[in-house]
């Protein structure tokens, strides 16, 4: 076999539908289109089995099949002569393809139709490249890359990520690096709230509105599914895959029962990919990337994204641990800011854990409780300097004892305040310390 299966990875991305020919026992051939072809290893491919159809009936009678795949860029096609060997209704290959079906179902609202029954595994006996098919031979850069330049690029990115001193810097720096070195234009970084089974946007890149604080429930859209399955998921050529879908949104259904911050997202994305951020076996969040121009998140992009999310995971974990371990004495500064007009109406809704500033929804849960505590303290005592240590010790905040993610929650709160151009600001004043700045007269209310 002179052509290796791994060389054809970008042909399996579903941009150009693959085709299959089978033959029944009585000698009647059948031609059909395939929704997915998946490379299992160097010698095997798999196709999805969703419906009982002629192709499947033929395979049960006669295991030989010819599968044709096409390169999405130059349209070069390859013929795989295969032999069906088995079907699997569980295991890693099934899981991988099943998740892809779930992604389609999530967009199409066609869960039962797209339900994967099994994956059919074929041994690849021979690969032929179709000769004389095209006069178009562009330089191929996306499939597959094994260049040393990529390793060097990774080293540069990891060096820079390694130099950041704070979580906020890590979030912003990582996306800037991906933009600068890989040309990715639109990214969202979300962190997991395990208790609530949702993801909260902590940073974004490339959007007119940052969307910090926007939430995605687990299982919702590509991002939510990525969180649920803890696996890199991608939708290439969205227009092709979801031709029936009229309006495609990255993650969130339009129904909003509670105040919600809109998730940043392109109106007409051409392709999306979401990768889990994990560290030490723990799920931390999701990095989602989308593109408005047609592109394929090929093997090279996937490798980069997985490596970057691994770095992010370790970085987030280390910086959070550092924040927890810091034993900085809380220097309570009696500095007081002059209260000025105008009035800042702050309303806290204890039942839902929401906080509103001037009747505008700001944030919920722990960041809402933190802000309420800070403002109340500031109002009563005039104190504006606070420390993370102090917040950790404050019982009314009800922070989780084991892993409180306090630093990331403070970043979220700070960014939300900035995004709303609020007259309330949180300004870092040293390691583990920050200052509350309030430009206005506070008027509190609590309740629905």
């Amino acid at each position: 076999m002179s052509i290796k299966l791994a060389q054809l990875d970008c042909c399996f991305e579903g941009v150009i539908p693959s085709t299959i020919a089978t033959c029944s026992q009585d000698g009647t051939p059948n031609a059909s289109y395939l929704s997915h072809v998946y490379r299992v290893d160097e010698k095997h491919v798999a196709t999805s089995f969703q419906f009982f159809n002629r192709t499947r009936a033929n395979l049960m009678e006669n295991p030989y099949a010819a599968i044709r795949v096409r390169h999405p860029v130059n349209l070069q096609s390859y013929r795989l002569r295969t032999k069906y060997v088995r079907s699997e209704d569980q295991g890693p290959v099934f899981d991988q393809m099943s998740v892809k079906m779930d992604v389609i179902a999530a967009y199409e609202g066609m869960g039962s139709i797209f339900k994967l029954k099994a994956v059919d595994i074929y041994e690849v006996l021979e690969i032929e490249q179709e000769e004389g098919e095209t006069d178009y031979h562009p330089p191929m850069t996306d499939c597959p890359s094994e260049s040393r330049e990529d390793l060097e690029l990774l080293r540069v990115i990891s060096d820079k990520m390694n130099q950041v001193m704070s979580l906020e810097e890590l979030f912003d720096q990582s996306m800037q690096l991906l933009n600068r070195y890989l040309g990715w234009t639109h990214m969202i970084l979300l962190l997991a709230d395990e208790d609530e089974k949702l993801l909260v946007t902590h940073a974004s890149f490339g959007y007119a509105v940052g969307g910090v604080g926007a939430e995605v429930k687990w299982g919702e859209g590509l991002i939510g599914l990525c969180a649920e399955h803890r696996r890199l998921l991608q939708v290439n050529a969205m227009a092709e895959v979801f031709r029936y879908a009229k309006a495609v949104k990255l993650g969130v259904s339009s129904e909003a029962l509670t105040p919600r911050i809109p998730l940043p997202g392109l109106t007409n994305p051409a392709s999306q990919v979401a990768a889990p951020i994990k560290a030490h076996g723990e799920f931390i969040g999701v990095l989602a990337v989308e593109s408005e121009t047609k592109r394929n998140w090929g093997p090279r992009d996937q490798l980069f994204l997985s490596t970057i999310t691994n770095m992010l995971g370790v970085g987030i974990s280390a910086l959070e641990a550092k924040g927890r371990a810091m034993k900085v004495a809380s220097q309570q500064d009696s500095h007081t800011l002059k209260e000025q007009n105008p009035i800042l109406r702050v309303r806290y809704v204890p039942g839902d854990d929401f906080i509103f500033v001037n009747d505008q929804y700001l944030i919920k849960n722990i960041p809402a409780r933190i802000l309420w505590y800070l403002l109340q303290t500031f109002s009563k005592s005039g104190r504006s300097e606070f420390s993370n240590m102090e917040l950790r010790a404050e019982k009314s905040l009800n922070l989780p004892e084991i892993k409180d993610n306090l630093e990331t929650r403070l970043i979220l709160l700070r960014k939300r305040l900035e995004e709303q151009a609020s007259a309330i600001r949180l300004v870092s004043s040293g390691r583990g310390k920050f200052r509350l700045e309030v430009s206005g007269r506070l008027d509190f209310s609590s309740g629905e």
């Binding site: 941009v15 150009i16 539908p17 085709t19 299959i20 020919a21 089978t22 033959c23 026992q25 000698g27 009647t28 051939p29 059948n30 031609a31 059909s32 289109y33 929704s35 419906f51 159809n53 002629r54 006669n62 030989y64 099949a65 010819a66 599968i67 044709r68 999405p72 860029v73 130059n74 349209l75 096609s77 013929r79 002569r81 179709e130 000769e131 004389g132 098919e133 095209t134 006069d135 178009y136 562009p138 050529a237 227009a239 092709e240 031709r243 051409a270 047609k294």
Partner: protein, 154 residues
Amino acid sequence: MDINELKDIIKLGVSMVVATRDAQMRPDICDGAGINISSDASKMTIFLVQQRATRTLANIENNSSIAVSMSRPPTYAAAQIKGRVTRVRPVDPTEQPIAQECATAFQREIQLIGVTREAAMGLRLVPDIAVDVSIENIFIQTPGPKAGQSMGSP
């Protein structure tokens, strides 16, 4: 989908895949470069590029079984025609405009799904072989509940 709809789809530009098999019942697959279907849908001619259809043509010589699946790329509307090859011959010069029309429509359609103009126009689609087929059955292949249903025999 009825026969007229199928003809409309063909006019609009279809991706065409041809399945045949050898004496050992091993299937082969190749692209079609155009189709001309009779008004009563009892016969059709499939155009092929010989260089890329070597095994398909050998299979047809061994036995006459053929299946041709057609799909309109932007909508996934698809149908499959099964039948018997009655004759293999060079493309008649009078048929070249039909083949050219199919090729142009196909090149236009695949650009609708994101293939670049350079890639679409770079495809070599000028056929040199015509395969006449007697149609035995036509099946709906559009994904959905009707997929696999017979549209009937001519």
